[in-house]
C-alpha cells in the first residue's frame, strides 16, 4: 500500500544524513567553536546549529514549498512555533549542542513531521555514532535497518531511567529537578542515566536499553521525532502527570510500559514551563 508521506520521510532521512555529515565536519575542525548563549549560561548555540537548520529547511522548502516549519533556531529568531493542520516539519538541527561543543559523543539531528497535528514520522540521526533512527506511524521503528522493541519492563524497581538536569540554572528549578531524581532513586530504581540529548535518550528507550525517560523543560523539536520512534517500538508517551502527551507542553514521560510511566508520574512534581505554543493553562 503506498504511503502518501513516504516521499517526505525519505527526504527527511536524506536531509538528516547530510546534516549529520556537516556536524561531523564541524567536529573535525581544530580549535574552539564559536559558542553563544541563549536563555542561560548553560543554553548554548553555535553557528553550526544555525547553518544546519537553514540547510534542512531550504532543502525541504525546495521539494515541498507549501509545508510549514517549526525549527529551534528559527523560533529563537522569532518565527512562530504554533502547530497548525498544515504538514509541518519539526526540527532540532543539533540536539545536544552542549555535547557538540565539548565533542561528547551524543549529538543528534532530529526531524519530526506532523499533519493535522498528528505526528506521522520521525527521524533522529545520532551522527557521531552513525545511528539512524526512523519510524513511520503504523510501520515500526528502526535503527540502521534493525527493528526496535522497548524492554517491556513493568517493575519500577528493576528499571533504568534516563533524565537530564536541563539548562535552567534557576536555583529553585535545579532543586526541584534534583528532588524528582532523588525520589526515583529512593524507590529504588536500578539507576539513572543522562547522556545529554533528549532525542537520543528517547531512542535509547526505543531500543530497550533503558526503560523510561522523562524531562521537564525540553521543547517540541526535541520530542516530536523520537515520540514516533518510541511508540512504534511499542512504548508509550505521556504527560508527567500521567495524562495524555502534549507536544507543546515542554515535558513528557516516555516508557517501555504504561505501568512504568504511571509509576514515574507518581513520583514527579512538575514545575511551570512556558509552553512552546505560548498558550496559558486556562487556554488549554
Amino acid at each position: 500500500m503506498s504511503d502518501v508521506w513516504e516521499e517526505c520521510m525519505d527526504h527527511g532521512v536524506a536531509a538528516a544524513r547530510k546534516a549529520g555529515e556537516v556536524v561531523r565536519e564541524a567536529l573535525k575542525n581544530e580549535g574552539c567553536m564559536s559558542v553563544m548563549l541563549k536563555s542561560s549560561p548553560a543554553d548554548l548555540v553555535t553557528e553550526t546549529d544555525q547553518k544546519v537548520e537553514s540547510m534542512i529547511i531550504s532543502s525541504i522548502k525546495e521539494k515541498f514549498p507549501t509545508h510549514s516549519f517549526i525549527g529551534e533556531e528559527s523560533v529563537a529568531a522569532g518565527e512562530s512555533s504554533i502547530l497548525t493542520d498544515n504538514p509541518t516539519w519539526i526540527i532540532d538541527p543539533i540536539d545536544g549542542t552542549t555535547n557538540f561543543v565539548h565533542r561528547f559523543p551524543f549529538v543528534a539531528v532530529s526531524i519530526g513531521f506532523a499533519v493535522k497535528k498528528e505526528l506521522e514520522f520521525g527521524v533522529v540521526y545520532s551522527c557521531m555514532e552513525d545511528k539512524m533512527y526512523t519510524a513511520r506511524k503504523g510501520r515500526g521503528a528502526f535503527c540502521n535497518g534493525v527493528q526496535l522493541k522497548v524492554s517491556g519492563q513493568e517493575d519500577i524497581t528493576k528499571s533504568l531511567i534516563i533524565t537530564e538536569l536541563g539548562s535552567n540554572r534557576n536555583p529553585d528549578t535545579v532543586r526541584r529537578v534534583l528532588a524528582n531524581m532523588d525520589r526515583l532513586l529512593c524507590v529504588p530504581v536500578h539507576g539513572i542515566r543522562a547522556v545529554g540529548t533528549a532525542a537520543v535518550n528517547m531512542c535509547l528507550v526505543a531500543t530497550g536499553g533503558a526503560d523510561a525517560y522523562y524531562e521537564i523543560g525540553i521543547h517540541c523539536w526535541d520530542m516530536a521525532a523520537a515520540a514516533v520512534i518510541v511508540t512504534e517500538a511499542g512504548g508509550v508517551v505521556m504527560d508527567v502527570t500521567g495524562g495524555p502527551f502534549d507536544l507543546m507542553s515542554r515535558r513528557l514521560i516516555t516508557a517501555s510500559s504504561r505501568a512504568i510511566g504511571e509509576r514515574i508520574a507518581k513520583e514527579l512534581q512538575a514545575f511551570p514551563c512556558e509552553r512552546d505554543d505560548g498558550k496559558k493553562e486556562d487556554q488549554l
Partner: protein, 289 residues
Amino acid sequence: MASSEENEMYSKKQWEGCMEIAVQTARTAGQVIREAFKHEKEVSTKSSPVDLVTETDRLVEDLIISSLREKYPSHRFIGEESSAAGEKCLLTDSPTWIIDPIDGTCNFIHSFPMVAVSIGFAVNKELEFGVIYHCLDENLYTARKGHGAFCNGIQLQVSKETDMSKALILTEIGAKRDPATLKIFSGNMERLLKAQVHGIRVIGSATLALCQVASGAADAYYQFGLHCWDIAAAAVIIREAGGNVIDTSGGPLDLMSRRIVAAGTVEMAHYIAQEIQTITYERDDHNAN
C-alpha cells in the same frame, strides 16, 4: 614473593609484553560480553539491591585471570568478582593485575550500550599501564607510563579548560541509595550547577567516563563509591593524556579509597574537590593486613 630489586630487573620490554597480552585478553573478553549482551541475563545482587552482578561477570573474570595466570604464574591478581568472593584487595610490590571484567554491569543487564573491560597493572605499587575496552563500540583505550595514551591508535589529549563555568562534568551515583547519601549526592550536583557548569552527565560506567576525560570530551569526573579496579587502568590513561587524578580531599590519589576526582587541568580538579562533600564507602583494602 618477588623483591623490589627483582622487579626493577624486569626490563621495560617486559611490561610492554604484558600490555600486549592485556590488550588481546581484553578484546577476547569483550567479544564474550558482546555475545552475552544480546541474550537474557541472570542477575544477582551484592552489597545492595542496586549493586548487580551476572554470571557473565564471573565467567569473564575467570577467563581473564586464568589466561593471564598461565603466562605469568608469579603475578598477583585483584579482580572485582574474586574480591566479592572473599579475596583480599592487597596491593603488594609484586606485579599485580587489577581487573574489572564488566564495568557497567547495570548497563549490561539493561543492554544500555556502555560496557567495558578494564585491566590495570601495577608494580611496586605504581600503576604501569592500563587497558580499557568499550565492548560494543570496540574502542580500545590504552596507556603505558611514559608512553602516552591512545584510543584505537589515535593519541589522546585532555581538555585544557580551567573555568568551571565552561565545564562538562561526568559522575556516577554509586551503590548507596539511602536518603542521607542521596542528599549529599544531590547537594554536590546542586553546588556544581550553581557554579554554572555546562552540564553533568551520567553514563553508567566509571572507566568509560574516565576515558571521556582522557579524550578531552569531558573536562572532569568525580565519584564516591567506585573501586580500585575501576580506577587502576583509567588513572594511567588520564595521566598519560596530560590530565590529573586526585583524591576528593584534594590530596594525592589513593587507589583503595573508593573515591576520585579526575580532570584535564589541576585547577579544574581542585575546584571540583572543593565543591563536593564526601560520601563514605568502606575502603577496598579494609580487610587486608
